[in-house]
């Protein structure tokens, strides 16, 4: 490498040691991960409509949240659940919840406990001040838990929640739960939000929305994204979020940056770094070629 021709700047741009690439990648990822700053996120209307719907509900309304995912799709779907629950509790809405996936209850429980913790602090979202409040199981939310055979459970709840779930997840009979006073079936729900990593979504669309006509919003994984999108066009689903991108948009709308936005930050800057290196390499390549051509003349 002592050859004079090899040491020109363009040639060096073409042969940066891979360790510099590695080092910069680590630095970019760690910085983007730890340093709090915001990135612009393009909001798509199908996500915004869910946020708008929940934001404009009168206090005391009940949202039905169906959590049908397991740890495998936690990274993409947990951020949706957290942002949505926090928004509901801050707006003094009440939440009813089922988990029709065998590993779903632990997901739902973790979300309720974490969000209840977070609500014990004063927070400001989108410029609006929300004082600290205590979120109480049975008053602010009611978690029904898991029952197998989702289609029948969804149908049963259309008649009365007490048919498939005589008691909630913790064994309290529904009749002794304050939230359940006067609550019979989906008619008392403002909307149903299904956050799902399984094909259970299909039952919510065909047996739930199709039969009982409640407003239904979906949050699905990136892989399922294309599969359920057509239901948005057909009007069976009023709002739709898919994958990490959808989760980050919701966090942005709720002004509640969480794991999805952090993940998007890291992704975005890592992509920029890789593109930067590709450009450096190509600039070096073309300038070097140009120079050699001129010298050759």
């Amino acid at each position: 490498m002592t050859n004079k021709k090899d040491t020109n700047i363009f040639n060096r741009m073409m042969s940066i040691d891979r360790r510099w690439v590695f080092l910069l990648l680590v630095i970019v990822c760690v910085t983007a991960y730890f340093i709090p700053f915001t990135i612009p996120i393009l909001i798509e209307p199908e996500v915004a409509v869910i946020h708008e719907f929940i934001d404009t509900l009168p206090p005391g309304s009940i949202i039905f949240l169906a959590i049908d995912y397991d740890p495998a799709s936690l990274a993409e779907l947990h951020p949706m659940t957290y942002a949505l629950l926090e928004q509901c509790f801050r707006r003094n809405l009440r939440v009813m919840c089922t988990a029709l996936h065998p590993n779903g209850p632990s997901m739902a429980e973790a979300a309720f406990l974490d969000v209840a913790d977070s609500c014990r602090m004063d927070k400001t979202y989108n410029g609006e001040f929300f004082p600290a409040r205590e979120v109480v199981n049975g008053v602010d939310y009611c978690f029904l838990g898991y029952k197998p055979y989702p289609a029948l459970v969804i149908l049963g709840m259309g008649t009365n929640f007490r048919l498939p779930f005589p008691a909630d997840y913790y064994g309290t009979p529904l009749d002794s739960i304050p939230l359940m006073r006067g609550v019979q079936n989906y008619d008392q729900m403002a909307c149903v939000v299904n956050i799902s990593g399984t094909s259970g979504t299909e039952y919510w669309i065909s047996y739930g929305q199709g039969r009982f006509g409640f407003p239904l919003a979906l949050g699905v994984t990136g892989v399922m994204g294309a599969e359920y999108y057509p239901f948005l066009n057909s009007g069976q689903v009023f709002g739709y979020m898919a994958g990490m991108l959808g989760a980050a948009q919701y966090e942005k709308l709720a002004d509640n940056p969480g794991k999805a936005i952090i993940a998007m930050k890291v992704q975005l800057y890592a992509h920029f770094l890789i593109i930067f290196f590709i450009i450096i390499g190509n600039v070096g390549f073309f300038m070097d070629k140009y120079k050699k051509k001129r010298e050759g003349r």
């Binding site: 073409m14 590695f22 990648l25 996120i41 393009l42 975005l268 890789i274 593109i275 290196f277 190509n282």
Partner: protein, 221 residues
């Protein structure tokens, strides 16, 4: 004799498996199920050959004090310790012996510890090295040297820019749509062409093997 019998066996079993596909009869399914079980069981005997090879190579290194022989000691020690934890444990009565699982879970908690704190971290870290290698490969190889390389480069850039929000909403929107189109339409065409080719190649190779034309797998080219 040494080479004819294997070729004959390959033919018999190969033809039977083809026949089996066309016959859903109970008897044919029954034999099929048996053959599949056999393959697994033979595989377990092969496992012994594999482990033997690993021990043999490591032991050889240690015996002749070859370069880096000390690390082979690590391999052998890890192998024996983990195997010991893997096949022995305490059952629910507290008896020590050949146990693996009881209703409470693994009978030897160290097996699980080694799995969770050695195997999983190294595995996920090795996997995460891909993030670095994908960056260095992109830098090294994405040069617009010729038409083909430029096509590779441009389509990769479009897909990588698909969620970039800095150049305005319209840019992000169209990048997203173009990337989705690239991933759905030309991708589907190319995949299908490759799969049809692979299908033919596989069928051709399998047919040659069953008919005994191709004997490379037995060392006879």
């Amino acid at each position: 004799m040494k080479r004819q019998i294997p070729v004959f066996l390959v033919f018999i079993f190969g033809v039977f498996m083809v026949f089996q596909y066309f016959s859903p009869h109970e008897a044919s399914e029954w034999v099929y199920k048996f053959l599949m079980d056999w393959i697994y069981i033979i595989g377990i005997f092969a496992m012994a050959l594999g482990i033997w090879s690993l021990i043999h190579v490591s032991y050889d290194k240690i015996k002749h004090k070859r370069h880096d022989w000390g690390y082979s000691v690590v391999t052998l020690a890890a192998l024996f310790i983990m195997t010991f934890f893997g096949i022995t444990g305490f059952n629910e009565n507290g008896d020590w012996g050949f146990y693996f699982m009881t209703q409470e879970g693994l009978t030897n908690p160290m097996f699980l510890n080694f799995f969770n704190y050695i195997l999983v971290p190294i595995e996920t870290t090795m996997f995460s090295l891909l993030a670095f290698f994908i960056a260095s490969a992109a830098y090294r190889a994405f040069r617009a040297r010729n038409v083909l390389a430029s096509m590779l480069l441009v389509s990769a850039l479009i897909v990588m820019l698909r969620f970039n929000p800095y150049f305005g909403d319209a840019f992000a929107f169209y990048m997203n749509k173009t990337a989705a189109w690239l991933l759905n339409v030309p991708n589907m065409a190319a995949k299908r062409a490759i799969l049809i080719g692979i299908g033919l190649g596989m069928v051709g190779t399998a047919l040659k093997v069953v008919l005994g034309i191709e004997r490379g797998y037995m060392g006879k080219g």
